[in-house]
Symmetry: C2
Amino acid sequence: MTMTRDEARARDAADPLRRFRDRFMLPDGVIYLDGNSLGALPRAAPPALDDLVRRQWGERLIRSWNEGWIEAPRRIGDKIARLIGARPGEVIAADSTSANLFKLLVAALRRDPARTTIVSELGNFHTDLHIAEGAVGCVPGARLKAVPRDALAGAIGDDTAVLLLTHVHYKTAARFDMATWSARAHDAGALMLWDLSHSTGAVAVDLGGAGADLAVGCGYKYLNGGPGAPAFLYVAERWQQVLANPVSGWMGHAAPFAFEDGYRPAPGIERWLSGTPAILGLAGLEAGVDLALEAEMAALEAKSAALFDVLAAAGDAIGLACVSPRDPAARGSHISFRHPDAYAICQALIEHGVIGDFRDPDIVRFGLTPLYLGFEDVVRAGEVLAGIVRGEIFRESRYAVRRAVT
Amino acid sequence: MTMTRDEARARDAADPLRRFRDRFMLPDGVIYLDGNSLGALPRAAPPALDDLVRRQWGERLIRSWNEGWIEAPRRIGDKIARLIGARPGEVIAADSTSANLFKLLVAALRRDPARTTIVSELGNFHTDLHIAEGAVGCVPGARLKAVPRDALAGAIGDDTAVLLLTHVHYKTAARFDMATWSARAHDAGALMLWDLSHSTGAVAVDLGGAGADLAVGCGYKYLNGGPGAPAFLYVAERWQQVLANPVSGWMGHAAPFAFEDGYRPAPGIERWLSGTPAILGLAGLEAGVDLALEAEMAALEAKSAALFDVLAAAGDAIGLACVSPRDPAARGSHISFRHPDAYAICQALIEHGVIGDFRDPDIVRFGLTPLYLGFEDVVRAGEVLAGIVRGEIFRESRYAVRRAVT
């Protein structure tokens, strides 16, 4: 049954997360269902960036490096650690997800010469597979074995160095059970590396509890860290003295300001740094992470599940094929529908103030950010979607939906 | 002869670059001689970042990717190209100097299996040597040969894959002749890779004219791009289809939004991208680069040379050992003095409003940024330096200068 606007307003009024909506700047006239691609702007970010730019950069200048900048990757990493079940000193904020993945994969492939293979999933977010190809090229004899999801368990073997999985699939939102798959990797003697890009800040993650070895994740989706925000990486404490960063830049040196010719890795998580930290990006990220830390993960998960149900029901009512799992424990915080005219539908949605995502070739994707989305937002989005798919508001659109869904 | 304040004021009044000073926000009571470590804040940067954060991120949200963000690395790269004698499509702004160097060194080592060696200079800025170590670890049989400057020419041979030199030395400011050394690399069949971190925006660079193959450089020094600003890399057009990026992330893919499992590098300079561009950092960088493009390089070089002479004379008058070349063509835009109490001197200088740099173990370094420094600034800095070294203002300082220079 589709939810009515009145019902939605009642749910919004009772929503324990409602107060977070005012902590974001959301544009009028837009229902933003793309927070899983670029999170909205936290109200705390502009003043934080103002202070960073005008005072810390403009007035304090180089002195700011000793007044908080140099610790930023570790400080923010320790905050992110609390969102993903990691301990202080196991996470650092730096570089991009792709770059961090490269570092960890090369390191994982070097651990044991007999273990030559990265196992991952075909159809994984493509940069993960591309980076795996690149990492394999840096370790003699290494290779990438990318297989369909149902062949993953059988692909893990004695030659597996590392199992690389994305916790929540970018397209379908299907979620791997972290403990189960980490155990499968460990049973074969392999390391487990999770990409948390569509998880962090959206669903409960317990890297420590699952026994995960390594992880990477994105700063600009559910962490609301800003466009191209620095990413993060996680290395379980037990691996920190064992694995080494191939992109061995000065910031990962044990004594970056001793200006030694030879590289000596820092003893802890700092060894995964490479170049100078991206201070502007880190300031945006920290504002988003601080906000995420205020919310209760259980409340986020419950609301995400409820928002999903609203949109799933709206899709059911018009016969749209939902490709996301119906079981909340088996998915992340977005919902995807398959339709041959997905691209045209997405364009028409945008034209009517609903911003979702097209994912090639036939997916309409909606990010359900429980921190700032309300039930009324999602009900209205469902109404617009229905109007477009049924052709009722088709005439108003410049974009043709070629085939109707009955 | 040391310059008087009156003489300095007259020079400032006649300075053709004087108008640029007002384009920067410089704090009162500080003489900033550390622009070669972190450039000052261009007045255009805060409004540009305001617009980026509040409007582009906050209001336009994900739509901004199609409204200028996705082109930013290439757009800014093309602007930087004009500062370093490169052509459009030969430069891209991305990642850190360290990360970019890693990508280019691995690619250079893979060009010809018979060429296994990176040749570089001992005492080069240490991240370059550290990254070279890391790159060598990614290519079987590769090695790093780091030798003193006077042994460099003899170290280049048939096995040299790439000669990696920093154009202007971070400590002494000694500048390599770019054409001469590029020719030496080419005569041996090797590639020439320049680190332009202490050059770009400060001294004339003509990569194309010198026949250079590859280059990297920093965004936060003389380009005034902000703390941890994205760096850049240069690949001469003739190598763009030959060399490949080992950190093969989605943004370097020929079709990043086709979501293909397999990696296909972009045909042009974009293949050197890896992860999502750091949009906040790029916005700061672009403000700085735009300003640098307004200045005439010949005027910058002439003023840099004149500022150097003022401080060199001030050092001579108190018997300080200048380790920077006296010939302007043989150096960059900073001046360094050696003194056993360099650290204490730097701390005392800061206490008296003069911000320079200590470089381990015994170097006092002053960056001479002709775009915003005046002659009076440098004369006053010289006065403070003399007072400290002579012990005249020693009593006011918490920092002891242990040994006097006569």
